[in-house]
Structures are given as structure tokens and as C-alpha cells.
């Protein structure tokens, strides 16, 4: 069967019932989505399936035959961070980073779907995602910022070889 991940088409050899998470990580070597629990309880494995956020540890690969998957790697690169990624950097919304991939993909779907900066709405949309480090408030701030279309000057927070941008903004 065939799967497109971040715009690249792949022929999949894994068995049809293999969870999408394991196809991505083990067969395709795409390690952005994480194996936090392998039972849908934590959200670290969330990817976008045809734009919708889903727990990849619970999706049998047969169900995404011909589908389009977006992982964190497909949101943006260090040279060109997407607004959600910029927001997470600017608002220090990641500590250990293990939940970050799932959080941002849920946030991406939320913002793309017209989500507002309302705290409760954000909490509800990201409600399936566990973070053990941050206490969630900076994550919610980051999502709110992305929803508002804030612009970010990342020179103070993302200084490095790959990051020279000075402004960001929503699409």
C-alpha cells in the first residue's frame, strides 16, 4: 500500500494492522512522532491524517492507504519554522520536548480549523495530550499566540546557526 508522508510518497511493506506510529518510526525512519504509551493515552504519537489530528499508535496502516500524513518534520524546518513552531519557541512551550511534536500537530489542526485564542477551547482541543514538564500554561499561550496570528522576533530565543529570521507571522 501507499502512503504520503510530508509530501513524499512511500510504498509500505509492513503488515496491514501495524500501527501507523510504528510504520513511521521503524519502517520509514521518521522519528518525530513518539511512542509514549502505545495505547492512545498520551498524545505523543499524534500526527495529521489528511489534516485531522489522530493518535498514530491507534491507526492501523490499512486505514491510511493512499492517505496524506503530516508529522512534525512536515510543519517546518529550522530554516523556515511554521507559525505554530515559532510560537512554541517564542513562548518556551517545550522543556524535554517529548510531547512537543504531538502538541504542535494538534495545535496546527486547531489553528488551521479556525481555532481562537480562547483558553478553554485550546485546552479542549489539546485535551488528549499529556505534558509532564511544563504545566501546560506556556503551551496554551503558544497556541493562543499562533491562533491570534502574532508575529515573533526569534533572535533572542532561537539564536543558532540555522535561525536567522527576525519576524514570523500567521499565513
Amino acid at each position: 500500500m501507499n502512503l504520503t508522508v510530508n509530501g513524499v510518497s512511500h510504498e509500505i511493506e509492513s503488515d496491514l494492522l501495524t500501527p501507523l506510529l510504528d510504520v513511521l518510526r521503524e519502517e520509514l525512519g521518521i522519528t518525530g512522532p513518539k511512542a509514549g504509551c502505545h495505547q492512545g493515552g498520551c498524545g505523543a504519537c499524534t500526527v495529521l491524517v489528511d489534516g485531522e489530528p489522530r493518535r498514530s499508535c491507534l491507526v492501523p496502516i490499512a486505514y491510511v492507504d493512499g492517505g496524506e500524513i503530516t508529522t512534525v518534520e512536515g510543519l517546518g524546518t529550522p530554516e523556515e519554522l511554521s507559525p505554530v513552531q515559532q510560537a512554541f519557541v517564542h513562548h518556551y512551550a517545550a522543556q524535554c520536548g517529548y510531547c512537543t511534536s504531538g502538541m504542535m500537530l494538534a495545535a496546527q489542526a486547531y489553528v488551521a480549523g479556525g481555532g481562537t485564542h480562547d483558553t478553554e477551547a485550546i485546552q479542549e482541543a489539546l485535551g488528549g495530550h499529556v505534558c509532564r514538564c511544563t504545566g501546560y500554561s506556556k503551551i496554551v499561550e503558544a497556541v493562543a499566540a499562533a491562533a491570534r496570528g502574532d508575529e515573533f522576533d526569534l533572535t533572542e530565543t532561537a539564536v543558532g546557526k540555522y535561525t536567522t529570521m527576525t519576524t514570523g507571522g500567521a499565513e
Partner: protein, 456 residues
């Protein structure tokens, strides 16, 4: 201050948001075998039969290890601090907690590894389990640790962490009331998003490259070297990238066993715990049992405190004596109580060994002290914020273990809290400072407080 309050880059921020941070589970080395553990299904049992040959003979299985493969089986994490070693890397002859690792297999994929574990022949003879710290002291309690049911190697081979300060009998005589409380916080699982995981590569030059999620890289290196009986320069530990630890990734829980599998198979090996293993078998913050009795005056002075702590170490010592020691030094919290009788025990139970977690040893006693302070205020009918200010540490006061406070911030912190919550304080409490006690803040019982308490 150049950094505090400033916006500075997170060196791994961009990597986190682009999925480029390489955690241990993300390391990809061709030919890596999957490890799985055979774990004890019993809280406490003797092992009467262990035969790994059916697993070893399975096609696709490249190595099986048991205690016999470990060059130095019993090594204590804190032997350097005087805590004797008591825990075998892999169970030998007996198991003392449900989930204790007995054997590990390394196979070509996870499916084969699980199957191989199920083929190991093992038989147990169940023994009575001790699961309640309070029962450890009973005459008829099962003996579950070779040294008895509680740790006996504090200084001078004392079987408890003991603090004696001032004259507790006099304090209790002089008290208007004794206020008692029992506090029993339960175990807490760290539950990091990244479960315990390790990958080890046996290099052609005889070294081992160890991809570890440990929070304590050099510490873990020492533990691995001690078990393997190899010099440190044989180990190359690649670490520093952890998906959350909070104290639960200091136990070097996976690395040594992966090294043994890698050495025995000659191939790279990965061991990744499932979330179920993480919840059921990984070390937790300890449960505590604390009993406090404060001798208090009707106007809210705490004259003395008697305290008994039972710390549930689980099946083995690990870091528990150290945690209890810290606990004992802080058992009066932010308050000065000059007459003390503290006894703390590290008690063994047939539970998963407990370990560090943020504020190791002290969060338990902070919880107990603060709750008890509120209880005292309630019993006396005294304002709960005023009673805290009254008894708050000042410059010149001493801690339970005799440290003189030079710059305590209790008074200003509590005053700030009072203001923030709109709690009106009387004038003398509003103008209180942390300066050495005098006047109304120096009652007779504090004049004589000793700076050199007898403690062990």
C-alpha cells in the same frame, strides 16, 4: 543579573519544535536487536527453577542473560556514601518485588523477544509479602531483607536516622496542648513521556557505546563500570537528551543489562520499556508514614516536636537512606522548633524500590509540616498565617541538624503571601523582620535553644 528575567535561547528549542531532537529511541543503528525482560509476577518468592535454554535455542534470539552473566552482581548506587549494596542487577534465587527483572533476551524483533521470554522456564515458591511499612516492626512480620526489615547502617550502625535537640520532655511538660497528626502521602510515579530506554553498541575496539536517557550520566557510568568490572574508558555514554526524568532516571535501570546483551550477542541492542512497565515496574517517589506531635502554647508557640517517620524504600535501599537524612534535616520546615525528638526509619517492603523525585525526601515533610501547622492553628483558634510568622526561622535560629540560619526568607515570603491573598495582619506582624529574635519574638523557650544538637 544578566540571565534571570532575560529572554535567552533554549539551546534545544528549535530542535524540539522541528522533530530533530534525537532521543534514545530515535537512534537508528542497523542490526539492532530488541530486548525484553522476564519479570517477577510475585511480590515475594524464591526461584526454584530457572532455565533459559528454550529461549536461547529460538531462532532469531541472539542472547539471553541472567544473574550468572553479571561480573559484579550486587552493587550499591551509593556505596560511596556508605550505603551497603543489597540489590542484584538481575534476580538471583529470589524475587522481592513484582516486576523485578530476572532475565533478559535480545532478539531480531520485538515479537520474537516477547515469545522468547515466554519460553523461559521458571518456577517460584511464593513467600509472604510485606506491603505495609507499619507492619514491618511486628514480631510476626515476614523477613524480607537479609538485614531485617529496616535499614541499619546510619552512622555508628544506628538503625534509624535520629535527631535529638534541646529538652523534649520539658517542652511537653510546659505545653498547654499537644497537637497530633498522621500524614501518609502515597507513592508517585514520575510518568515521564519518554519511558526508560537504552541502546548499546559493542564497538570493534572493545568499547561499548551506550545511548542512555539517564539524568546522571557520569553517575550511571560508574554504576555500569562497577557491575561490568571494566575501566571507565571502556564506556562511551551518549546522554543528555532525556524525555523527562524528574528523578526517575537516576537508577541506571536499563543500561547495564543492555551492555551485557550487547557484549554477549556481539550486536547492538535496544531496550524500550512499555508504558505498562513504566507504571508497574519503574521506581517511584516513596510512600511515607509520618506521625507528628507538637507541644504548643495557647498563644501559638511551638515548644517542641516529636516525630516518627517510616519511609517505604521498597525492596532495596537504593537512595533511600540519603532521602531520609535530608528529610530529617528539614522536618521542622520553615519554622524554628528548639526541642526535637525525631526518629526515621528506612523500611523495606515488597514493592518496587523507591527513588528520587523532585525535592527527594523533603516534599513529604514539607507537606506534613505545613498541614500540621494549619492543624495546630485550628486547634488553638489562632490565625494560620500569624502562627507561621511567629514560629518562622530568623537569623541566628538553627535547623534540626544544627545549621545556623544566616538569611532565612520565611518571614518576608509569608508576609508577601498574606498581602497577595488580601489577608490582613496586625501591625506587629506586618513589621516583623528576619532579624535575630528580640522582644515579643523571643520567648523564654527560644532563649536557650542550642546550636549543637545531638544528632546522628
Amino acid at each position: 543579573m544578566k540571565v534571570v528575567g532575560a529572554r535567552i535561547p533554549r539551546y534545544d528549542g528549535v530542535a524540539h519544535v522541528t522533530g530533530r531532537t534525537t532521543y534514545v529511541d530515535d537512534v537508528r543503528i542497523p542490526g539492532t536487536l530488541w530486548a525484553k525482560a522476564l519479570r517477577s509476577p510475585h511480590h515475594h518468592a524464591g526461584i526454584t527453577k530457572l532455565d533459559t535454554r528454550p529461549a536461547e535455542e529460538m531462532p532469531g534470539v541472539h542472547a539471553v542473560i541472567t544473574w550468572e552473566d553479571v561480573p559484579h552482581l550486587v552493587y550499591g548506587h551509593l556505596e560511596a556514601l556508605g550505603i551497603p549494596a543489597d540489590e542484584p542487577l538481575l534476580a538471583k534465587d529470589e524475587v522481592r518485588y513484582k516486576g523485578q527483572p530476572i532475565a533478559l533476551v535480545a532478539a531480531e524483533n520485538e515479537e520474537l523477544a516477547v515469545e522468547a521470554v515466554s519460553r523461559i522456564e521458571i518456577e517460584f515458591e511464593e513467600r509472604p509479602a510485606l506491603l505495609d511499612v507499619r507492619k514491618a516492626f511486628d514480631e510476626d512480620a515476614p523477613e524480607i531483607h537479609k538485614e531485617g526489615n529496616w535499614y541499619r547502617h546510619f552512622e555508628n550502625e544506628m538503625d534509624r536516622r535520629q535527631i535529638r535537640k534541646g529538652d523534649i520532655a520539658k517542652a511537653f511538660e510546659q505545653a498547654d496542648t499537644i497537637v497530633q497528626g498522621v500524614y501518609r502521602p502515597a507513592a508517585i510515579e514520575h510518568a515521564p513521556l519518554e519511558t526508560q530506554v537504552c541502546q548499546v553498541v559493542p564497538e570493534a575496539n572493545g568499547r561499548l557505546t551506550i545511548y542512555s536517557c539517564t539524568q546522571a550520566l557520569y553517575f550511571s557510568m560508574g554504576v555500569i563500570a562497577a557491575h561490568l568490572q571494566v575501566p571507565l574508558n571502556k564506556l562511551k555514554v551518549v546522554g543528555g537528551t532525556t524525555g523527562g526524568g524528574f528523578g526517575g532516571k537516576v537508577d541506571t535501570a536499563t543500561e547495564t543489562m543492555c551492555c551485557l546483551l550487547a557484549m554477549k550477542s556481539g550486536k547492538p541492542v535496544k531496550w524500550r520499556w512499555t508504558r505498562e512497565e513504566e507504571f508497574l515496574c519503574s521506581s517511584t517517589r516513596a510512600p511515607w508514614h509520618m506521625e507528628i506531635a507538637d507541644a504548643v502554647t495557647k498563644d501559638g508557640w511551638i515548644l517542641g516536636r516529636k516525630m516518627l517517620t517510616l519511609h517505604d524504600a521498597g525492596a532495596y535501599s537504593r537512595f533511600s537512606p540519603y532521602g531520609l537524612t535530608k528529610h530529617s534535616f528539614h522536618h521542622t520546615g520553615a519554622y524554628t522548633i528548639p526541642n526535637l525528638e525525631f526518629d526515621g526509619y528506612v523500611v523495606y517492603t515488597n514493592r518496587v524500590p523507591t527513588t528520587a523525585m523532585r525535592g527527594f525526601g523533603v516534599t513529604s515533610v514539607s507537606f506534613a509540616t505545613e498541614t500540621h501547622m494549619s492543624r495546630v492553628a485550628d486547634v488553638l483558634g489562632v490565625d494560620p498565617i500569624e502562627i507561621r510568622l511567629k514560629n518562622a526561622n530568623r537569623i541566628g535560629d538553627t535547623s534540626p541538624n544544627g545549621i545556623v540560619y544566616t538569611d532565612p526568607s520565611t518571614v518576608s515570603t509569608i508576609q508577601t503571601i498574606a498581602e497577595a491573598i488580601g489577608h490582613e495582619l496586625p501591625a506587629d506582624y506586618r513589621t516583623m523582620t528576619s532579624e535575630p529574635r528580640s522582644g515579643e519574638w523571643l520567648p523564654e523557650h527560644l532563649v536557650a535553644q542550642t546550636a549543637n544538637p545531638e544528632d546522628h
